[in-house]
Amino acid sequence: MMLGGLGALIGAASAWPVLRFLSPRATGGKADTVTVARSDVKQGDAHFFQYRSKPAVVLQPKPGEFVALSAVCTHLGCIVAWQKQAGEFLCPCHGGRFSAEGQVLGGPPPSPLESFPVKLEGDQLKIG
């Protein structure tokens, strides 16, 4: 009994450093806001960029109106592709469809694309 307890204690003490070693390190320095030039976001087009270490996308559905979303499909993490003709996002992995506002239109995604606030400051878009 005592030997078992001692073994468990030694096991836990050895497992902790291994677990900490393997745990993802805090990225630090990843800005909470990202600036994108307004000229990069043409009307009807999508501009992809990196936000909080993950791909994100900003759109201009109507003149002067900007929408920023996570580009990571909420089903299994593939990157959604912008379908200009259809005006919607399509996930190439399992066929999930999202509206320009990130709402689920069809397929297996369980929730909408995460959206981020966008502010127009001069000729720059401040996202986040």
Partner: protein, 366 residues
């Protein structure tokens, strides 16, 4: 005295190898009706050996760094003398291993060889099968192609369905929020050291179980009799059977030669069979290629995730199916092994294979 004879005598007086030969090879008797399906274990041992040798050779040129990995694989294929051959043997070998594993598992299932107190043999074999799948998954991230990157993204993201801690598990598997250099590092370590070590240990345990319990008799023919089950351990012997060496060894060698020929035929006549277009594009974390599909043996899992509207149900179905298969010897307790006397089992067996094939084809074309 001839040099070979002298060497045998020299070793024998020190280690008693002649006794081992007599007892474990010539004196190791197999059932007289043992069939070709019993050779698949030896085939798999050979294939795993080829994977280890080619893997060591590839390691000498492969660079496990997200910036350099793709270029290093390109160099192996185009610049290193015979690099293409060793990489093709490794890639095609992995696919042939999955084929042989499926055949081995299906033949064991059909002949109900997991019965007769062989639960440990089945369980170690089933874990080996899953470990081989894990080796395939960790292996195909290494070339850092589009196929590698997105297959790993989807596979690791699936862990996000685990209630409460899903997101943390995904990050832990990847070493960060997305698949990147950290993921490559840990998959590399698992693929070349961690998993092969466990695999070797498990192969040893599996062979120990096979040898200790004794080979099962094929459940066919008029004269087939179910062996008596004693209330204590008993090795299943086959008096009057055929010796493993040289008789059965020759059959093993013939089937191994057939598999080698099959592998080389793919390498030389259909080298692109296991390489979709996305395997020749460098990984781009911003663009998931259209119509991206996993390897053929993961298509069933891919399509299951597509069929079910909820990720957790899709995953739950897969986990439930695999758990059922793992525990089959504990669930199916009837002692009857003859397929002809088990119509319900054979119907489920055939329907199960058809369902697997149909879902995989559906996944390929969807």
């Amino acid at each position: 005295m001839q040099p070979v004879k002298w060497l045998v005598e020299f070793v024998d007086v020190r280690l008693g190898i002649k006794e081992i030969y007599q007892k474990e090879l010539k004196g190791y008797l197999l059932p007289r009706k043992v069939n070709v399906w019993y050779t698949l274990g030896a085939v798999l041992l050979t294939l795993f050996t080829i994977q280890i040798i080619t893997g060591i050779l590839l390691l000498m040129f492969y660079v496990p760094d997200a910036e350099k990995a793709y270029a290093s694989v390109e160099a192996i294929m185009n610049d290193v003398p015979f690099g293409w051959l060793f990489r093709m043997l490794h890639v095609v070998g992995a696919n042939v291993i999955v084929i042989a594993l499926l055949m081995h598992m299906l033949s064991v299932l059909f002949m109900n060889s997991y019965k007769g107190r062989r639960e440990f043999t089945w369980l170690t074999g089933f874990i080996l099968f899953n470990l081989a799948m894990g080796l395939c998954l960790t292996g195909y991230l290494l070339p850092w192609s589009q196929l590698s990157f997105w297959a790993t993204t989807v596979a690791t993201d699936a862990a996000g369905a685990i209630p409460l801690v899903g997101d943390q598990v995904v990050e832990f598997l990847r070493g960060g929020p997305t698949v990147d250099n950290q993921t490559l590092g840990r998959f590399f370590a698992l693929h070349v050291v961690g998993m092969p070590l466990v695999l070797l240990g498990l192969i040893g345990l599996h062979l120990f179980c096979v040898k200790r319990r004794g080979i099962s008799t094929p459940p066919f023919g008029e004269d087939y009799r179910e062996p008596q089950e004693m209330p204590f351990f008993e090795h299943e012997k086959h008096p009057g059977g055929i010796p493993f060496f040289p008789n059965y060894f020759v059959k093993d060698a013939a089937v191994i030669a057939f598999f080698m020929a099959f592998m080389l035929a793919i390498i030389f006549y259909a080298p692109g069979l296991f390489f979709p277009e996305t395997a020749f594009q460098r990984a781009d974390p911003f663009v998931t290629p259209p119509h991206i599909k996993p390897e053929w043996y993961f298509l069933w899992a891919y399509q299951t995730l597509k069929i079910f509207p909820s990720k957790i149900i899709g995953l739950g179905v897969q986990v439930a199916f695999m758990t059922f298969l793992a525990l089959l010897p504990f669930i199916d307790r009837s002692r009857e092994r003859r397929p002809a006397k088990r119509p319900l089992f054979v119907t489920c067996y055939v329907l199960g294979i058809l369902l697997f094939v149909a879902i995989s084809i559906w996944g390929h074309y969807s």
